[in-house]
């Protein structure tokens, strides 16, 4: 009779001692943890074996403190998670290194999530179980996932530089993955490829304030810098809304201008033709007969039509109220020259006198011409009351352009800042200065 041998199943302890330095090491990921980092000596230990073999010893002297301490608990979308791992990863681009932080979150019921942080920009990330569909739109890679299209942003090699805590995968300082990022703000799809495996993850842009609130961290989050690839634009949808409003305001403006054009009295109150001879011994100045201006205070147009040809004339006018003596004083120059090269000036002109109250008026006219020459000019004067004038509507139309043009420029500048860090950044002229922050 043989006695059956029973191999006792290894049950991971919740705490162990580092075989390198003897410091206690806490496990929060239970059976999921494959590697754990000693918080004292930073040796990477194999948590899947009972003896906790040392996989890698810590070489760096610099120690990095995560902004969210390991073991901190927080809630995202009502689900509690605990920070159990932290790593710093780095990419090299055009001779410069850029590093970002990644936090591993764990909930025994919901599994693992990740938080990434780069210069104050945060993303809440989950690994995908379904694969996005890879596309090629207009020669550029893209992917589609759950009906949303993501544009390729960049492809880089990411290297793990620093690790703390525990991980459900084999992790070493110096690990390198090929990373491709696709963006559709506020989401980002990332494909991390290692030999024989590609992992897709979906990140959602999250503000530092939300992170601080979720983990109830003291103080306030560091301010973000620059524009992150999947950062939602504060101008999203605004240019279209502003241009739509501009269109409707212009329709309203046009309707108002048409209404005033059609409802203006535009009534002729005086018209006469005169002959002026420069150098004649008679007095050049004269006054017209009285004419009646009725209605609300509105404009008065004085039109001058002359037979000038290669000559000029100047008219001194005074529109005077017969009863009150109120005087609108103004002058008008008319000149018309032409030769084989073309013409300059016009023999006719007009002037609009603003806000003339109703009453009986007459016009004082004093024409002048080149004084050294004996010459004459025939001209007619026409006075009209309440003529349509759309000058203010034209000005309003131009001013209405300012908000949509401004917001379109700002939105475009934001998108330019976003894509400046991508594989599709516009070429920068050599010698040009660097841009500023655009937050």
């Amino acid at each position: 009779m043989t006695t059956p041998t029973v191999t006792p199943q290894f049950v991971k302890p919740k705490a162990l001692n580092c075989p390198n330095c003897g410091a206690p090491v806490e496990l929060r990921g239970f059976a999921h943890t494959l590697n754990v980092v000693c918080p004292n000596c930073h040796s990477i230990l194999d948590a899947s074996t009972p003896e906790f073999t040392i996989l890698q010893t810590f070489q760096r002297k610099e120690r990095i403190e995560p902004q969210i301490p390991l073991g901190t608990r927080g809630k995202f979308n009502g689900q509690p998670y605990q920070v159990i791992g932290f790593q710093v990863r780095e990419v090299d681009s055009e001779g410069s290194s850029y590093s970002w932080d990644e936090y591993l979150l764990f909930n025994p019921y919901y599994g693992f999530r990740y938080l990434t942080e780069y210069e104050g920009h945060w993303n809440f990330v989950r690994v995908l179980s379904a694969l996005p569909v890879e596309l090629n739109t207009m020669g550029k890679p893209a992917v589609e996932f759950q009906g949303r299209r993501y544009r390729h942003f960049d492809s880089l090699s990411a290297r793990t530089n620093y690790i703390l805590g525990e991980f459900p995968w084999q992790v070493r300082v110096g690990d390198v993955v090929q990373d491709r990022d696709f963006v559709s703000p506020p989401y980002m799809l990332s494909a991390e490829a290692t030999p024989g495996e590609i992992t897709w993850s979906l990140g959602e842009y999250t503000s530092g304030k939300q992170i601080w609130a979720a983990f109830q961290l003291p103080g306030s989050p560091p301010a973000y810098y620059g524009v992150f690839p999947n950062q939602p634009s504060p101008y999203e949808g605004k240019p279209a809304a502003f241009w739509s409003a501009w269109l409707w305001l212009n329709v309203a403006l046009l309707a108002i201008a048409l209404f005033f054009t059609m409802s203006s009295a535009d009534r002729e109150v005086f018209q006469n033709t005169y002959l002026f001879t420069q150098g004649a011994k008679t007095e050049a100045a004269f006054v017209t007969p009285d004419f009646e201006l009725t209605g609300r205070p509105s404009n008065v147009e004085i039109s001058i039509r002359t037979d000038l040809n290669n000559n000029w004339a100047y008219f001194n006018f005074a529109l005077i109220n017969e009863d009150t003596g109120q005087d609108f004083d103004f002058g008008r120059e008319v000149s018309y020259y032409r030769d084989s090269d073309g013409a300059e000036g016009k023999p006719n002109d007009s002037v609009i006198v603003p806000r003339v109250p109703s009453g009986r008026y007459y016009l004082r006219v004093e024409p002048e011409m080149e004084p050294r020459i004996l010459q004459s000019m025939s001209y007619s004067l026409t006075i009209r009351r309440d003529v349509p004038s759309n000058a203010f509507f034209w000005i309003a139309g131009v001013l209405l352009l300012i908000p949509p043009v401004f917001i379109t420029f700002r939105a475009s500048a934001f998108e330019s800042a976003r894509w400046r860090e991508s594989d599709y950044a516009p070429a920068v002229k050599s010698g040009s200065g660097g841009g500023g922050d655009d937050d």
Binding site: V287, T324, D327, D329, F330, V353, P354, R355, E366, D386
Partner: protein
Amino acid sequence: MLLGASTYAHYSGWSLTRINEQKVAPKTVRDNPGSYRSMYWGYSRYIGGK
């Protein structure tokens, strides 16, 4: 607001024309127009031409 301002400006008969408004013209203007000197008298004489 811009629409309202432009509508009011138009309705009130405003203009962009530069006009000098003297409050009271002398009574003698009608009888002796030549004695009146406008604000623009001798101000802008054209001396150019092609």
